[in-house]
């Protein structure tokens, strides 16, 4: 049965205050910024964010006061470096204190894979001797029962909801995504439910013509949203390029709280939805089109 709803409905029905939310799990590309903006518009509170890099998505949510904790390996602005809102929250508690659960890209990937496998933890040798495990506080030190060597045990992470942007999905939620996956599939399979935001909703036959492209199956998906341009300013392979300057503009505009509030008023609360946002971008949006070259044929 069709799960197609508006983004506002999907966020309202599947992301309660206090929920743990994984997003931006492909690292720099395919960040579902439209969902980030909708979370801010709906004034969500006490979210536990999960994502390895997430670019400025986490910075915005922190600045808007939606966030109680972040589980991540890196948080800031990939183009400009530091994220002002993340700094203000951590250094001054503005707009509120945020608890950080430090990870590396590998340990967060292992935590989500453990969640996807239904395993309690995964054992690893990364970060032995790093201060990250102590700062994180959820890992356990152990020695291998096979050879006695030191190990870190990374406990499973199971998000309440994973928000996943992709090129196309069917109405049931079978989603095709190509380009880098990062930790997206683990985050989707580990989650209680998944919100799929597709550039286009297509017929089941399109999905079934290439089942190897499916990143998450319908049985994991709670809502499907059709929304072109959902990832701007991040890129979506075969659709549009990254808007580098937009990240620099955000960096310059958000140096102080009033500047951040002006930026949110202009780009988030000042627009009702992504369609209006894209109209506001106007020619700048059109200029980002990057249709790409077709993949070599595969037959099934």
């Amino acid at each position: 049965m069709s799960k197609v709803v508006s983004l506002a409905e999907a966020i309202r029905d599947h992301v309660p205050d206090g929920a743990s939310v994984a997003l931006g799990c492909a690292l720099e590309p395919a960040v579902p910024f439209s969902a980030v903006h909708e979370l801010i518009r709906q004034g969500k509170r006490d979210l536990a964010l999960i994502g390895p890099i997430s670019d400025i998505a986490f910075d915005m949510l922190i600045g808007a006061g939606c966030v109680a904790s972040v589980t991540m390996a890196w948080a800031g602005n990939v183009s400009a470096g530091l994220g002002h809102c993340y700094r203000r929250a951590m250094e001054q508690g503005i707009p509120r204190r945020v608890r950080v659960f430090d990870h590396s890209n590998f340990t967060i990937a292992q935590a989500l894979l453990a969640g996807a496998l239904g395993a309690p933890y995964l054992p690893t040798r990364t970060l032995l001797g790093s201060d990250i495990p102590a700062a994180n506080g959820t890992f356990k030190e152990a020695s291998s029962p096979f050879d006695g060597s030191p190990l870190l045990l990374i406990p499973a992470i199971t998000p309440d909801v994973t928000i996943l942007a992709c090129q196309r999905a069917d109405a049931d939620g079978n989603a095709h995504q190509w380009g880098p996956w990062g930790v997206s599939q683990e985050a989707a399979l580990a989650a209680r439910t998944v919100i799929v935001i597709a550039e286009a909703v297509v017929g089941r036959a399109v999905i079934a013509s290439d089942p190897n492209r499916t990143i998450v199956p319908a049985l994991k998906v709670g809502a499907v949203v059709e929304e072109p341009g959902a990832c701007h300013p991040s890129p979506l392979q075969g659709r549009y390029a990254r808007d580098h300057e937009f990240f620099h503009e955000y960096h310059r505009a958000t140096r102080d709280v009033p500047g951040f509030e002006r930026w949110i008023a202009e780009w988030v609360t000042g627009v009702p939805d992504r369609a209006a946002y894209l109209r506001k971008l106007d020619g700048r949006w059109a200029a980002l089109a990057a249709p790409g070259e077709p993949a070599a044929e595969a037959t099934f």
Binding site: A26, L27, E28, P29, A30, P52, I53, D55, M72, A73, W74, A75, G76, S79, G81, L82, G83, Y86, R87, M90, E91, R99, V100, D102, S104, N105, F106, T107, A109, Q110, L113, T124, R125, T126, L127, L128, G129, S130, D131, I132, A135, S149, P150, L151, G179, P180, W181, G182, V183, Q185, E186, S234, P235, Q237, G238, A241, R242, H244, G292, E293
Partner: protein, 255 residues
């Protein structure tokens, strides 16, 4: 056109990649170093990018992030992050590049936070990303960062990416399977790690042994045969300037 510190650093970083090696590339100067190495002495090197991209040819255009669409077009593998981290943990990765905000003499890097209390930092840094994994698990680590007395410190506030810890065979004692920093390339010089400690190997043309010592926060060991860093060749400069014509990464005097 005057040769910048960035260009000297890129040329040196490229020399650190041997032909046929599998290397975690990263962004900024290391990305351009990979381009230089591929087009000169290391045509068979393979580049890994943490989000899951594997390339045996540099991207057609300059990249601003590893997720830029040109870095995916023409890749030989779009994997999951954990597939590449698995290769790293297995020991299938020869080298990796990382930067940092702070480093100590033993190559321990801080990219997490400045200050005593991690939950209440004086300066919140973005974090380590996959750098801590590369530092933990690659066969060797190539560190690139700006040279500043406040960055090259006697002790770092937080060890995000382990170097040689307290030195000697600390890595083995904590259970790290291999690796450690082989070289530190800064805006002033090149520091080779011997016995788990950074030793000044060469100072850049625009710098000097004294500059390096004066701007380092610990008593710096200097190699007996310390020399000037070999400047980039005309060929290498041409490759750098063709790939980064605006000097976005190589002329902003900051790695």
């Amino acid at each position: 056109m005057e040769i910048t510190a960035g260009e000297v650093m890129v040329a040196q970083a490229a020399r650190e990649i041997a032909d046929g090696e599998v290397v975690f590339v990263g962004m900024r100067l290391p990305l351009i170093a990979f381009v230089v190495a591929k087009r000169t002495h290391a045509p068979n090197a393979t580049g890994l990018f943490e989000l899951g991209v594997v390339r045996d040819t540099p991207s057609a255009e300059l990249l601003y992030t590893m997720g830029d669409t040109p870095n995916v077009a023409g890749a030989t593998w779009c994997a999951r992050t954990i597939d590449l981290m698995g290769l790293l943990q297995r020991g299938d990765v020869d080298a990796g590049f990382i930067g940092g905000a702070e480093i100590d003499r033993h190559g321990n890097l801080n990219t997490t936070a400045i200050g005593a209390d991690r939950q209440h930092p004086t300066v919140q840094l973005p974090g380590g990303g996959g750098g801590a994994d590369i530092a933990s698990l690659a066969k060797r680590l190539i560190v690139i960062m700006p040279h500043d007395r406040r960055r090259l410190r006697e002790h770092v506030d937080f060890v995000t990416s382990p170097g040689y810890g307290s030195g000697s065979d600390w890595r083995r004692s904590v259970g790290l399977p291999r690796g450690g920093p082989s070289v530190l390339i800064t805006t002033l010089g090149v520091f080779r790690f011997t016995g788990g400690e950074a030793v000044l190997e060469s100072y850049h043309a625009h710098s000097s042994e004294a500059d390096c010592i004066a701007n380092t926060g610990w008593p710096l060991r200097v190699a007996s045969e310390v020399r000037m860093t070999e400047p980039p060749s005309a060929e290498v400069l041409a490759i750098i300037r063709e790939y980064d014509p605006e000097g976005f990464w190589t002329r902003r005097g900051e790695s």
